[in-house]
């Protein structure tokens, strides 16, 4: 069995002791160098603030985002007809990623009245167009696949 069989702790092979030790030695040194630099430049790096922004997204993701995405996946699987389910799941996944990554330009916090070259687009409108293109393309591909599967099955 090569799946990520969680809860079957005997499945995943133990790391090679050499690779683990080598990784710890090299990676540990690199990490320590970074941490040292971060702390040594604390006037600029504000380590407590960094800690907040490092731990925050992790907790946000693991406690809220991931369960919400899994739940949404379950709901979608119920709502979508079998013939187009996989294709539309893939399409909507791409859409969701594009939307999440567009949050900074949608917020456009950095926009300044004296600098029209910064964040020059109408991002809500552009995002709507991009999503429409992905949805259209994904739906067409999904329908084409479904039609092919029906022909093959018939």
């Amino acid at each position: 069995m090569a799946t990520v069989e969680r809860n079957t702790p005997h499945d995943a092979p133990d790391p090679s002791a050499t690779a683990l030790r080598l990784g710890l030695a090299v990676g540990g040194a690199v990490f320590a160098f970074g941490l040292y630099g971060l702390l040594r430049n604390s006037a600029q790096t504000v380590p407590l603030d960094v800690l907040k922004w490092i731990a925050g997204p992790l907790i946000l993701h693991d406690a809220l985002v991931a369960p919400a995405v899994l739940a949404a996946g379950l709901v979608l699987a119920r709502l979508l007809p079998v013939a187009i389910r996989a294709g539309m799941q893939a399409t909507l996944t791409v859409c969701a990623i594009v939307v999440v990554m567009s949050v900074p330009v949608l917020k456009a916090v950095g926009r300044r009245p004296d600098n029209p070259s910064l964040l020059p687009h109408d991002y809500p409108q552009n995002l709507a167009v991009v999503i429409a293109v992905i949805l259209t393309g994904g739906t067409l591909l999904t329908l084409a696949r479904a039609a092919r599967a029906r022909r093959a099955g018939a």
């Binding site: 809860n7 133990d14 540990g28 389910r85 070259s117 687009h121």
Partner: protein, 401 residues
């Protein structure tokens, strides 16, 4: 148990009988896409992207904070080098974000592994997963926010992003070492073996998920890469910059207003001072500069935030100005701006760049006098150089040996 003496294994064995329910329960995550073959393939791509980001990030750091030690000095040519490395840096960061999100989805069930660690080696591996995920999310979020100049935090972005980059590389190396055996097994295993049940009707296949990842990477890349890759400018619908939007068709990072030079830059009494290690300190007016031999160069203005735009610059060679003031051979130059705000008031030119024929004190951009926001009356433009070091609203050239 392989290591009967291992205390972690000892505890794990006793915990096994007390499995909690909920997400820890058997079969709590049924989707077959939570699979090490997917995790390993996404992980390989992520590893390549992260190492690329780190290498190009180092290049950018040393371009901004030159070591100036022999061969480590930032070279003046090729002039487009920084444009490429910084474009790749931001593009690879954007492209790796969908991979990270999908990989986290794939391995999320492992968060609820029971027993939490089966032996000391497993405990070591798991201990570094949280910092790895946290630092990866932090690097990608802070970098993406910076491209839009969104700073919801207190720390200085460039300094912090640099040091957390080292920390991320460190835990990544540890993770690769700990996962090497499993990753090699997973990569050797085909996505769909003859022994695997065929995907049920309506079920996304493992290959399908990887195609989804590819499509997501393509979507976020195509809609942003035009900010630095001109042929795709028309598709850059979600890019925070467009290479031809701005005064005189070139974007601006710091405006004259933002730099606090609206009055001083337009002062008719403005003079360029050339001092320091020179035989004859000079004070030159704009007319004096115009009267000197004018040169033209095609050079990009490249911002650390990932956009770049090429332009044709006209003006006086720094080398000519140094020669006119009788600066010593091999002098370095500190270029200082009249701006009162911002951390990039001055920048240094090493010997190679100061003497380079393409290093200009530019007066014109695309055959027009510089717009106030581009640094009127004159700005520095030099090859292979981050935009923040192309000092605008120049008042002083200070030669030093």
């Amino acid at each position: 148990m392989k290591h009967p003496e291992d205390p972690v294994a000892f505890v794990a064995k006793r915990l096994e009988a007390h499995r909690p329910t909920g997400p820890f329960g058997e079969g709590a995550f049924s989707n077959r896409l939570h699979d090490e073959r997917i995790a390993a393939r996404l992980g390989m791509a992520l590893g390549v992207a992260f190492v690329t980001c780190f290498a190009t990030g180092l290049a950018s750091h040393f371009a901004q904070h030159p070591l100036d030690v022999g061969f480590l000095s930032t070279p003046a040519s090729p002039s487009w080098l920084y444009r490429i490395t910084q474009g790749v840096h931001v593009t690879a960061g954007i492209a790796s974000t969908p991979l990270l999100l999908l990989k986290l989805w794939t391995v999320y069930p492992l968060l609820f592994t029971w027993p939490p660690a089966r032996n000391a080696a497993h405990a070591t591996e798991r201990m570094f997963v949280a910092p790895l995920v946290a630092l990866a999310l932090f690097q990608l979020f802070s970098g993406l926010a910076n491209t839009t100049r969104w700073y919801p935090w207190q720390f200085n972005f460039t300094v912090t992003h640099f040091w957390t980059g080292w920390m991320l590389m460190g835990v990544l190396v540890i993770h690769i070492g700990a996962k090497l055996t499993q990753t090699r097994r997973a990569l050797r295993t085909p996505l769909q073996r003859s022994t695997d049940p065929a995907p049920a009707r309506g079920e996304l296949s493992r290959r399908g998920l990887l195609w989804t990842a590819g499509a997501a990477v393509a979507a976020v890349t195509i809609t942003t890469v035009g900010q630095t890759f001109r042929p795709l400018e028309g598709l850059a619908a979600l890019a925070p910059r467009v290479p031809d939007i701005g005064p005189q068709g070139i974007p601006v990072n710091r405006t004259a207003n933002g730099a606090g030079v609206l009055q001083t830059a337009r002062d008719a009494d403005w003079r360029l001072t050339i001092d320091g290690a020179v035989a004859q300190p000079l004070e030159l007016s704009l007319a004096d500069l115009r009267a000197m031999t004018q040169h033209e160069v095609e050079l990009p203005i490249t911002c650390v935030e990932g956009w770049s735009a090429g332009a044709r610059w006209g003006g006086v060679r720094i080398a000519d100005l140094l020669a006119r003031a009788g600066a010593a051979d091999g002098a370095e130059v500190v270029v200082t701006s009249m701006q009162t705000r911002g951390s990039y008031r001055s920048s240094a030119l090493n010997t190679i760049v100061a003497g380079h024929e393409h290093t200009l004190l530019a007066l014109d951009i695309n055959d027009e006098p510089l717009h106030l926001d581009h640094g009127f009356p004159c700005r520095l433009i030099a090859p292979n150089r981050p935009g923040v070091l192309q000092t605008k609203w120049v008042t002083t050239l200070h030669a030093r040996i």
